[in-house]
């Protein structure tokens, strides 16, 4: 499941940033490597929320700088979802 989550997230980041999925690695930095600005940050967040039917909390947002951190957060939010199998 985690691998799939990562794949889906990478696909979303690729769509928004224009970088190919193979260029998007766990350690890839959103700002330094993928030129993510405020608009793209929102587009990625909204697309992830819609895809996984989760809601990213305000307090989690500032901690995200790499793809790995985004995947971990999404996995955590999926696990916390009530009555839904992660």
């Amino acid at each position: 499941m985690t691998d799939n989550v990562e794949k889906e997230i990478v696909a979303i980041i690729s769509d928004v940033s224009g970088f190919e999925p193979e260029d998007i690695k766990p350690g890839t930095n959103f700002f330094q490597d993928l030129e993510i600005d405020s608009i793209k940050a929102i587009e990625i967040t909204v697309a992830i929320e819609k895809k996984f039917k989760i809601s990213v909390r305000d307090e989690d947002v500032p901690n995200i700088t790499t793809v790995k951190e985004a995947v971990e957060l999404v996995n955590k939010l999926i696990a916390e979802k009530p009555n839904v199998k992660a």
Binding site: E20, S38, A41
Partner: protein, 469 residues
Amino acid sequence: MLKPKDTYDAVIIGAGISGLVCGCYLAKAGMKVLIVEQHYKPGGYCTSFKRQGFTFDAAAHSFGGYRENGTMFRIINDLGLNLRIERYDPSDVIVTSDYRISLWNDPNRTVEELQSAFPHESKKIRDFFYFLSNSEPFDFVVLRKKTFRELLDQYFTDENLRSILSFPVLGNGGLPPSLISAFTAAKIYIEFLLDGGYYPGESMQSLSDSLARKFKEYGGELRLSCPVTKIRVKENVIEGVFLDKSTFILTRNVVSCCDTRQTVFDLLGQRLVREEFMRKLETMQPSLSVFVAYLGIDHSFEPLLRPGVNVWIMPHYNIEEMYLTLRDKSINETMGYMIRLSPNGKSLQAFVNAPFKNKEYWIENKYPLLEDFIRRIESVIPNLSQHIVYKDASTPYTMYRYTLNYKGAAYGWASIPSQLFAPEFKFIDGIGGLFLCGHWTAQTQGIPGAAYLGSETAKLILRKGKYGL
């Protein structure tokens, strides 16, 4: 039989700012690019026209985002545009019966001016502007579901201050604080109000013309007065565009900078578009349009008005009511408006948001409403009508006629949080090689917003290598 000259690496529909910028980047990268535009001049909302010796900017009247590392600064430098850019200080002045607040080129000076007008909100004013000026990209993610009203409420208790801060957002975004997304409002502050007041040479047309010239220098071809009639798709991939029934242009990439409805209903045909996309499209609400008065004058109204400065006249503090009356009725006596003396000091432009209504309404009411508007402006600028030597107006229908934006919308889709979309309006699923661009594809607007989307779409095309070079 198709000749080789009818084949392009990309065809861009619309020579507004997003189309021109996208075209420049693609042509610069070596692609063979054609931009087609239905109007006889390039620029979209960034065009100017001459009447009886006066030059008027049709809609866009200045731009922002030209600070170092700002969107326009980056794009103008990337493309090496040869433009003489002036900046006016202050860029904007907000006038109410109690206050006259200037938005200075130096944001610290703006903060100090607001603090002296609202000393009880002093710390919060500094915090608010600090947030706008110093946040990192992900800091804005927390704004994605909020309205500007909610953001203002986090900082301020003074209702008049909240209204003063909301009025130029209504003027630049067409929505009151209870409806406009906090993100869009923040972008309006960052790109238009805290870094605004720039003017490109003779008129706004200079910016569009300079982009068009650069595009041609890079080897691009621009065809004006040339509407696209159809986008042809074969086996889920773009095959080309029809310029009229008999002229077919072969291309693997189409960048559509016109509105999404036009792209889907008129150019593509909805049978090619997935149901989910159509359902979303049917629920989308466009932004308001604008009514613009163009006045040629023979007198200087300084110091009431200064060249190149946007003056926002707020007759009262109830922005919500102002918006509802504009949306549901029309322009009227309770409306606020923006007035601006042109940089050469010879003409005035006055703007108010307006609903689209229909062609007949505006044919019937354009001139009576213009006269009403002039009378209202005269309460701020005495004896104005004695010094008008030329007058005309654009209505929402005029905006539609020249740009074909759905319902003459001034800012693409209405920037309400529920319409804050993921990238789903930048592509149409299942159609390879079709890119949607311009102010209908993201919640960013105005010249910096459109230019940003043009450069980003070009990057997407170049990075993805989805084009058949």
